[in-house]
């Protein structure tokens, strides 16, 4: 039987569209130092480093080796994972298993990206099959547009419904000193923003950011000595279902979210997630996902996502706040983004979320999205699991 594992410290940079003042290693270092400070540990206390980003954004091969100066992995076990957009969540899951295995007592997990260093769209295009489909697509934007079109066609949601999601998250971001875009927007701002790929407009989409996030995972042997309120990992579930984009036929539902969330709720013994979960940090790369994927997660029936938004259920102060941090449409350093979701949930559980604190958080869920319509999910809790 494995050890119980908790997040005992987090750190993130103040995310920006361009950080010209630091190179990648220095960016990583900022987050690492902040996480160690938060946990009141030094790098000598750390048993190993798990790090990730998306290679082609910075154009550096073997990043686990390259980043040693910044990550603190010097003469320690250091390993890299990458799964595209969901890298950050994948890293968190790895942090969990590696500590639960007993191989590490305290582990530093780091996600980072310097999106400004490359052409994001161009790099994402290279994730598609070079023989069959690379010539037609336009990065993340075009793929997501296909999903939004299919959903809109099937369930009748409108761009106005989607805009309500962006408005929510941009308002939430104002409470988050780390967020990149900290200015409220209106529905009309979204609907009048430049068209990208039907039906998406600029303000429906996430920005590209330079940023890093680091999290300290610790085993039950030391977690409670390190911090008064460890954020315990309760369960993880993921589905990387498709290998070819051409296998994705029905796009009005995110199948991996349907499957992963089923497994997660079952592991947690949750029947009504809307009632039983206190807060969600949803990896939501564009506004429409805030309608579609909350349905697929089982918060409401298919087609009823807009109602949840307009009723204010997912706003701060609502029954189940989503993205109190402002989420991905406010900040998106891709390799870090999934890990930021976990760090934010940990802060919520620890009561350290400042102006974005949701009251009385006992159970929070972080998700990751990326690759070929993949979903990773982690649930964290205040109470030490049995």
């Amino acid at each position: 039987m494995g050890k119980r594992v908790a997040i005992v410290g987090t750190g993130q940079t103040h995310h920006r569209s361009i950080r010209r003042d630091v190179n990648g290693q220095e960016l990583i270092h900022e987050a690492a130092v902040r996480a160690l400070k938060d946990a009141e540990l030094t790098i000598d206390d750390i048993g190993g480093v798990v790090i990730g980003n998306m290679d082609h954004f910075e154009g550096i091969n073997y990043v686990d080796c390259w980043s040693i100066d910044g990550s603190g992995g010097y003469l320690k076990p250091t390993i890299k994972l990458t799964t595209g957009g969901t890298t950050g969540a994948t890293l968190a899951v790895a942090g969990y298993h590696m500590v639960a295995s007993g191989m590490f007592e305290k582990l530093l997990v780091i996600g980072w990206e310097k999106n400004s260093e490359s052409d994001t769209t161009g790099a994402i295009i290279t994730c598609t099959d070079p023989i069959i489909e690379r010539q037609f697509v336009a990065g993340a934007i075009s793929g997501l547009a296909l999903e939004a079109q299919a959903y809109m066609h099937r369930y009748g949601a409108t761009p106005r419904d989607a805009a309500r999601v962006s408005v929510r998250d941009r308002r939430h971001a104002c409470n988050n000193p780390h967020a990149q875009l900290r200015g409220e927007i209106t529905i009309e701002d979204v609907l009048n923003s430049p068209r990208l790929a039907d039906p998406l407009r600029l303000l429906d989409m996430c920005p590209r950011s330079d940023g890093a996030c680091a999290v300290v995972f610790a085993s039950e042997d030391v977690a409670e000595k390190i911090c008064p309120t460890p954020a315990w990992v309760l369960a993880t579930a993921n589905r990387h279902m498709f290998s070819d984009y051409t296998d994705v036929v029905e796009m009005s539902s995110l199948l991996s979210m349907v499957e992963a969330s089923k497994e997660l709720w079952q592991k947690l013994g949750i029947r009504e997630p809307l009632k039983e979960v206190d807060v969600i940090e949803l990896y939501q790369p564009y506004s429409w996902a805030g309608l579609i994927w909350i349905e697929d997660m089982g918060l409401c029936k298919k087609g009823e996502g807009p109602k949840l938004l307009w009723d204010g259920v997912t706003d701060m102060g609502g029954e189940l706040p989503i993205n109190p941090s402002g989420g991905v449409v406010a900040t998106n350093p891709i390799g870090a983004t999934g890990l930021i979701r976990c760090a934010e949930i940990a802060l919520q559980i620890q009561g350290k979320a400042g102006a974005r604190q949701v009251s009385d958080v006992k159970l929070g869920v972080a998700t990751g999205f990326g690759g070929n319509w993949w979903t990773d999910m982690l649930a964290f809790g205040k109470k030490k699991p049995n």
């Binding site: 910075e58 003469l75 390993i79 990458t82 994402i124 290279t126 993921n238 990387h240 499957e259």
Partner: protein, 381 residues
Amino acid sequence: MERVAIIGMGQTQHAAQRTEVNFPELVYEAVSLALKDAGIGIDGIDNVITTCNDFWDGRTISSMATGDVSGARGKNVSAVEGDGAFGAFYGLTRILSGAYGTTLVTAYSKGSESVPYLITNAAFDPIYMRSLGLDMVTSCALQARRYMKRYGISEEECALVAVKNRGNALANPNAHQGMRITVEDVMRSRRIADPLKLYDISPVSDGAGCIILAREDRAKKIPHRPVWVKGVSFCADAYLLGDRELSECRALEKAAQAAYKMAGIQDPRKEIDVAEISEAFTYQELLWTEGLGFCEKGGGKKLIASGATAKNGDIPVNPSGGLMGAHPVIAAGLIRILEAARQVRGDAGDMQVKKQVQLALAHGVNGVCGQSHCVWVLGRD
């Protein structure tokens, strides 16, 4: 450490070019063989770890393309970027964490689809080093020169590795190339980057490997004897070439010491019965045997010259031919684990060492000039 075993393994025919398959199909070959070897169906696999590298594949998030062929559908899966030995480590922890009973680990690359020196050039820091045109071969030439100067090692002494391993590869049906050569053949081979000559350098291969790890209770009803994981660790040294002493491998020493401690090994030279290590270049086998504690620092040349590391010596190194026989980058370390496991099982065919293998060592490398090492100790009991 809870008892976990390798219960199945498979590898492709490694070759200069496998143009008849794309990389998912290459992985499928290895996966199919591993499942057959373990005598289980894909439903017996609880979770999947893919090891690959976006640069080598020419594709961002390349791990997505091999999900179907690894039976990832409906399962929890993940991907490690780096050498397969590291991927296998993560696969191991997913069992030790209590989450899963079996893990399928794959690792692959098709080096023929790109220009390897450009791929490895991309490992160098874009601000300080990349425009110098360094790649794996030229940077390892620097390391070779430093190591050889420090301990007075000659090119002929390094060449013994090529003679031994390329000869051993003749007995390896999966090898990319095996050849019966002499030290003179190595010395006469084309100079690539002094002191490295053609035969000092492992060939870049297209290939894939797969192993299946299982918790003890899932390792019972299998056709072969289970190969137990006795110890495993990994460690990374400093990144910039000038930030570390290239004639040493501290990261390997640390990884080996930690793995030995887990396995209860005090004298590796005596207690390890066979070792499969990642020698991308001849000098590396000498240097790695020092880091692994098979001899004292600088003693690598004497060790090989003594015949101790020959197939029927008392510490055989790379009876499979090692990387000189086949070097599918990224997969290399996983295949070392596989070959070491075969020795423990006693079914390495013509590669099998004569003595009974109680403990075997496998080793993988990530990064440039052996910056990061992963060491596995496998056992019969």
